[in-house]
């Protein structure tokens, strides 16, 4: 079964890069431009993993993670966040909010795939 990944980022170039990488590896990618958009799309269902940036307008990644974890359907869904912050505080906050894993930007394509396979399984 093809697995669907919800990619959330306010930067269009970033979304493009993620989509190229993940589609190339055989995943379906749904895109959202911020937390609010992502929450609407997540509620529609069928998402196996969420990949989100932290700094976004309207609703940021932290709030999105918290909202998602409140939805029964998203209790066990892996949530991976992208972060550029070198400060551990933001990372810990995201972890405490319920994130599964993280990728430090900038990353190489195989790192993104590595983490995806790690949390989503082969």
């Amino acid at each position: 079964m093809t697995k669907t990944i919800l990619s959330v980022d306010d930067s269009a170039s970033m979304r493009l890069l993620v989509k190229m990488t993940l589609s190339g590896a055989g995943y379906d990618v749904v895109e959202a431009i911020d937390g609010k958009d992502a929450l609407t799309k997540a509620k529609a269902g069928g998402v196996h993993m969420v990949l989100t940036d932290l700094n976004m307008p309207n609703m940021d990644g932290l709030a999105l993670i918290r909202e998602l974890r409140c939805l029964p359907a998203y209790k066990g869904v892996p949530i991976v966040f992208l972060t550029t912050e070198s400060d551990a505080g933001k990372k810990n906050e995201a972890k405490a909010a319920g994130a599964t894993a993280w990728i430090v930007k900038p990353f190489q394509q195989d790192q993104l795939l590595g983490v995806t396979r790690k949390v989503l399984g082969p």
Binding site: S86, K95, A99
Partner: protein, 691 residues
């Protein structure tokens, strides 16, 4: 601001942090070479530096770091001890790595080669020509090793999307693995929450991959899980343990046999080689040393404690706060009751809620020694850079402060120490000429004083130059030419933005940035800064910080119709305002308390209370730092357990109040911020006198 979109810059910042962690770990390792956590910290930092370095184009740095990482891997595997020679090399290498990151073109290549040589000598590795700096692939290290891994995910791991089975699969893919599931924590079936994880796993894995590869498997869960990875090393084991491990004999049988065996001490006593008393003494020494080592470890921040998310502590604090408020209501209801039994239960609850409050507060407290410790290297390096001989001493390291506050104090203290070293302390010749010992002294101290923790940074340097500060301030139009200022006021000017009297800008200080940052940080923590300085004898900067307790013991007073709370620990005494003093003087209001003059502030006037004053006004004498000030109120109501609720954004700039609290009858009382109130009162008084 740095550009977070520049990948190289992001890496530089991360690397700086890793290097700082590495250095702290190295310095502490020197004292406690057996501390596993420190060793792991150092190794992880090196590992990350190497890994990320290669990705961001710092190839030379990655290659160099690789060798140091190797050395520490050997230490971790018990192949060598972290002796001081290795630590020296590691510290120097750390600086070399920083050079490779910050200015790779200008780095001293001979120094790099020399360090690699020293490292090779330490590790005894025949690494051949070390100057070439090629990264050896990890698998070259790989003779098959066997590891014992114990993995217990956090109970909420499943809810966070972690699938432990995938991690086990990853391990299985690395070599030959035997996985045993531990079910001892599994509750009865009716209590099972399917979203929780109750299982743990013991895995014995034989693999050619290094330990770091195993750690990488657990990279996203390591902070929240119980995870131990130990090499299985048959030689280090006692024969009984191996036999028991192999199932040749039962562990009990081994224990029995060992129990029948006589202990070394007993054997020696039997031989008459030594008296029983001497053995006891030696055992006592052993136990003592063990206790000491354990105590020393306990000082290390967080590393061997339970990690709890900060929000949970905040929740705990909130709930304790609500408990205290509920108790206040209960106490008020019971006050009018004659039922002794209810009264005794109420008192019991009071005792318990006080204890709970103290414990909850204590959880957030960290000894300031964890912060002071970081400055050892700073002073060591700065004094070398400036060719000044400086010794750093500390006292009061055990003084405890809220953890968040400790973190925010780092930068201000760094600035102050740098300033002391750069401007305050003189070179050895100059010191000797002034009849002082050639070695300069910086002393850090911390202590409790009332509601505050006082942190002082004292040097025995040349002191602040009053004339130059004044001249500079006049030049920048901060003060009127010829204005009369006390020393304390004059010295406060050094905290103005852009203020620097240094004639030459050095790489360390003198650019006039820094001290205003100190001031701003301390202000944001609601703290105070005092500067005292004696020409030729040195400068002392004292930071006064509130204990930031969420619940304090307060004194409840009434001013007009409003009720206010002041921190009880700041209160010295309450006296009645003599009627004859209650006459407007031309100058300030002073009260004669047993021979000393104490200024007082009329809160009625500050708060513009419309109600007529009570006939007998009371004065609460409070101490602020070294000063005493009286606050005139209508009535002193008594002590009150005060749960501090913060004020809304709208009231954020009303400095006279630090918060609000809810009283037993449900009404609200404002909490007076003593330090700022006194400052406000001092500006208020002269103005009123003018009008």
């Amino acid at each position: 601001m740095t550009d977070s979109n520049d990948p190289t810059q992001t890496f530089r910042e991360e690397a700086a942090e890793l290097l700082a962690d590495l250095e702290t770990a190295l310095l502490s390792l020197e004292e406690r070479p057996d501390d596993r956590d420190l060793l792991d910290t150092a190794f992880r930092a090196l590992h990350t530096l190497k890994g990320s370095g290669a990705m961001f184009g710092f190839g030379a740095m990655a290659a160099f770091t690789h060798h140091l990482e190797n050395a520490f891997d050997q230490v971790r595997r018990g192949l060598m001890a972290p002796n001081s020679a290795l630590i020296d090399v590691a510290l120097a290498s750390k600086d070399h790595i920083r050079g490779l990151i910050e200015h790779p073109d200008r780095v001293n290549k001979e120094e790099g080669a020399r360090l690699l040589d020293l490292m090779a000598k330490q590790t005894g590795a025949a690494s051949g020509p070390t100057g070439s700096g090629t990264v050896t692939a990890d698998k070259d290290l790989g003779t098959p090793g066997t590891w014992r891994i114990r993995f217990r995910p956090a109970p909420d791991a499943l809810e966070r999307g972690t699938n432990p089975l995938l991690l086990l699969d990853e391990l299985r893919a690395m070599g030959s693995a035997t996985v045993v599931t531990l079910t001892e924590a599994l509750p009865p079936v009716e209590e099972i929450n399917p979203n929780r994880c109750y299982l743990a796993w013991d895995i014995v894995l034989t693999t050619t991959q290094p330990r770091s590869a195993i750690e990488d498997v657990f990279i996203f869960v390591v902070d929240d899980s119980e995870l131990t990875i130990d090499p299985v090393d048959p030689e280090a084991k006692r024969i009984g343990e191996i036999l028991a491990d192999r199932g040749e004999v039962a562990a009990d049988t081994v224990t029995d046999a060992v129990g029948r065996q006589k202990k070394l001490g007993q054997l020696l006593v039997d031989d008459g080689a030594v008296t029983e008393e001497r053995i006891h003494s030696a055992l006592a020494e052993q136990a003592h040393v063990r206790n000491k080592t354990d105590a020393a470890k306990a000082v290390v921040p967080a590393s061997n404690s339970i990690r709890v998310p900060a929000e949970r502590l905040d929740d705990l604090m909130d709930q304790v706060g609500e408990l205290v408020i509920s108790h206040a209501r209960l106490k008020q209801l019971v006050a009018s009751s004659a039922d002794l039994q209810i009264k005794s239960v109420t008192e019991e609850i009071e005792r318990l809620s006080n204890g709970l409050r103290d414990t909850a507060i204590g959880i957030r407290m960290v000894p300031i020694g964890t912060l002071f410790g970081r400055f050892r290297r700073l002073v060591r390096d700065l004094s070398q850079d400036m060719a000044k001989d400086v010794s750093l001493t500390m006292s009061g390291e055990e003084t405890e402060l809220d953890k968040t506050m400790i973190e925010r104090l780092n930068d201000p203290l760094v600035h102050i120490i740098r300033n002391s070293l750069d401007h305050g302390l003189e070179k050895a010749e100059e010191r000797q000429a002034a009849g002082k010992p050639p070695q300069g002294l910086i002393h850090l101290s911390a202590r409790h004083a009332g509601t505050q923790v006082l942190i002082s940074i004292k040097d025995d340097g040349r002191g602040l130059n009053r004339d130059r500060i004044r001249a500079k301030a006049e030049e920048q139009e901060l003060i009127q030419p010829g204005a009369r200022l006390s020393d304390a006021d004059l010295f406060q000017l050094i905290f103005q933005p852009g203020f620097s009297t240094a004639k030459a800008v050095t790489s360390l200080s003198g650019r006039g940035v820094g001290m205003d940052v100190v001031k701003r940080t301390i202000d944001s923590l609601r703290g105070t800064i005092d500067v005292t300085s004696t020409p030729g004898a040195g400068t002392e900067i004292t930071l006064g910080l509130p204990l930031t307790l969420a619940i304090i013991d307060g004194l409840l007073v009434r001013v007009g119709a409003g009720r206010f709370v002041m921190p009880l620990s700041a209160v010295e005494e309450c006296v009645e305002l003599p009627v004859k003093e209650d006459v407007r003087h031309t100058g300030r209001n002073f009260l004669n308390i047993r021979g000393s003059l104490v200024p007082f502030i009329r809160l009625r006037e500050m708060f513009s209370s419309p109600l007529p004053a009570d006939p007998y006004q009371k004065v609460v004498i409070i101490s602020v730092g070294e000063r005493r000030v009286g606050l005139v109120v209508d009535q002193v109501l008594g002590d009150h357990q005060t749960v501090i609720k913060s004020l809304s954004q709208l009231h954020a700039d009303t400095k006279a109040f630090s918060g609000a609290t809810i009283l037993g009858d449900g009404s609200v009382a404002l909490i007076l911020d003593i330090g700022h109130l006194v400052a406000l009162g001092q500006t208020f008084e002269p103005r009123r006198n003018v009008s």
